[in-house]
Symmetry: C2
Subunit: 248 residues, 2 copies
C-alpha cells in the first residue's frame, strides 16, 4: 500500500484523499482551490489544435442518425452556447500546457499511448463519438455509434464499452464543469442492449458539487427517447491542474 498510497497522496495533492485511504492529509480549503470559472475551463480545454487530429469530427462511417444529430448540435454551438468538445489521441494533448499534481514515471519514455475510448484507429470499428457541452447548465450530450469491435452479446455493444464511454463523458464534463478529474465511483444499470452500428445518446448532468466531489448522472437512450439503454451515476474528485510553466 505504501508505494501506491504515496503516489495517490501526490495525486490528491493537498486537497483530500480517496474514501477508504489511510492517508491523513490537510483539510480542503475551498477558498484556495477550484477558482476557475466554467468559461475559463472551456476556453482552456476546448481549443481546436490544427496540428493535432480531432477525432470528434464526422467521418465516412457515421450513419445518417449520428450525422443529422451532430449537425443539430453544431447549430446549437452557434445559437445556444453549446460547445463541441475536441477529442484527441491522448489526455496529454487535452491538458497541454498543464500537468496533474502527480509524479509520472511509468511509461514516460513511450509514445504509443492512446486515450482508451480512442484506442481503435480504424474509422467505424470502435468508439465513434462526439461530446457537446453546455457550460451554463453544466450538462453534456454524447452521440455514440458503437462499431463491431465493441461487441459483447453477439450483435450488441459490450456493457463495458458503454460503461467506459459514460465514464469518459463524465470525465470531460466534470473537468469542464469545475476541475473534476478523478473518478471515485461509478454505477450503471442496464435496461436494453445497444445494437452495434446504431446511435445511442448519452445525456449527462452535473447534479451537485459538494466537498470537492462532483456528482454526475447519465441516461443513455435512443434518439427518439423511446428506448432507455442504461442509467448511470458517478462521483469525481476535484483537483487543480498546475500550469507547466510555473513549475519549470
Amino acid at each position: 500500500m505504501l508505494r501506491r498510497g504515496f503516489q495517490m497522496a501526490v495525486i490528491l495533492g493537498h486537497h483530500g484523499t480517496l474514501p477508504g485511504a489511510t492517508h491523513l492529509l490537510p483539510r480542503f480549503n475551498p477558498a484556495s482551490a477550484f477558482g476557475s470559472s466554467t468559461e475559463s475551463l472551456v476556453s482552456r480545454f476546448c481549443q481546436e489544435m490544427t496540428k493535432t487530429k480531432n477525432y470528434a469530427l464526422p467521418n465516412a462511417s457515421w450513419g445518417p442518425d449520428m450525422l443529422s444529430l451532430y449537425h443539430e448540435f453544431l447549430e446549437k454551438t452557434k445559437t445556444d452556447g453549446w460547445v463541441r468538445v475536441p477529442s484527441f489521441r491522448s489526455n496529454r494533448d487535452h491538458i497541454r500546457g498543464f500537468k496533474l499534481p502527480l509524479e509520472l514515471s511509468a511509461n514516460s519514455d513511450k509514445s504509443d499511448w492512446r486515450l482508451f475510448t480512442r484506442c481503435i484507429e480504424r474509422e467505424g470499428q470502435g468508439f465513434e463519438y462526439v461530446i457537446f457541452f453546455q457550460p451554463s447548465e453544466k450538462k453534456s450530450v454524447c452521440l455514440f455509434q458503437p462499431g463491431p469491435c465493441l461487441e459483447g452479446v453477439p450483435g450488441f455493444a459490450h456493457g463495458g464499452s458503454l460503461a467506459a464511454l459514460i465514464d469518459e463523458t463524465f470525465s470531460k464534463t466534470a473537468c469542464l464543469s469545475g476541475e473534476g478529474l478523478l473518478t471515485l465511483n461509478f454505477n450503471i444499470r442496464f435496461k436494453n442492449l445497444i445494437p452495434l452500428g446504431s446511435l445511442a445518446v448519452l445525456n449527462v448532468n452535473v447534479e451537485k458539487i459538494e466537498d470537492q466531489k462532483m456528482y454526475l448522472s447519465c441516461v443513455t437512450q435512443s434518439r427518439d427517447q423511446q428506448t432507455v439503454y442504461a442509467k448511470a451515476s458517478g462521483t469525481f474528485l476535484q483537483m487543480q491542474l498546475e500550469e507547466e510553466s510555473s513549475q519549470q
Copy 2:
C-alpha cells in the same frame, strides 16, 4: 420502447424481465431452468479449439509478474481443479453450437466483430489478460496487464478499461457458474490508479444466486495485495442457451 422492448422480451425468454422494464412475462419456474451443473458448463464452454486463436496464452508482451503468476495458476489447473478459461475473438466462438434466445438481425452479415476486451489485435497494446476459474468455489482470478492504448490519466489505465474487464470477468464467471449471461447492474469504487504495463489481479467471487440473479464481487489489487486498485460488484441475469441443433 416498443421495438427494443420487444427484443428484450425475446432475450429474456420466459424467465423474467429487466428491473424497471414494463413487460409482463411469465414468472420464473426454477424447476425448469438452469439445470446445468458447473462441471457441464465448464466442459461446454472451456474447450480449446485448435482452429480458433486463444488470446489467453502468454505472448512476448507479458511482463515477468504476469508470466510467473500465470504459471502458478497453470500449476493449479493440474492439482487444485482450476480451469484456464479460453478467450476467443468473439462470444460467437465461445457459445459455438448454442444460441441466445434472441433474434439477431443487427450486423448478421458482418464478420468483423470482436469481443470488446479483445478489440486491440497488437500484442501488449491493449487488454492483456487471462482468466482462471475455480468451479467448486465459483470464483475466478483474472491477471490483467493494461497496455498503452488503455490510457486515462497519463501513464495509468483508464477507469473505464478496468470497469470493462471486470464486467467481462464477471460475465465469464457468471456464465460458467450457472448461466448468468446478461449484466443488470455494475458498481465500482476506485482506490488507486493502475500504472500502464504493470500487473493487476482481479479476484472475483459469486456471492449468491437468488431468483434468477447472480451477485458477484471483485477486488482488484497488486500481486502482493498491498495496493487495492478498485472494488466492484455486479448482478447478472440467468438465461438458458439453446442448442442450435434443436432449433434447426
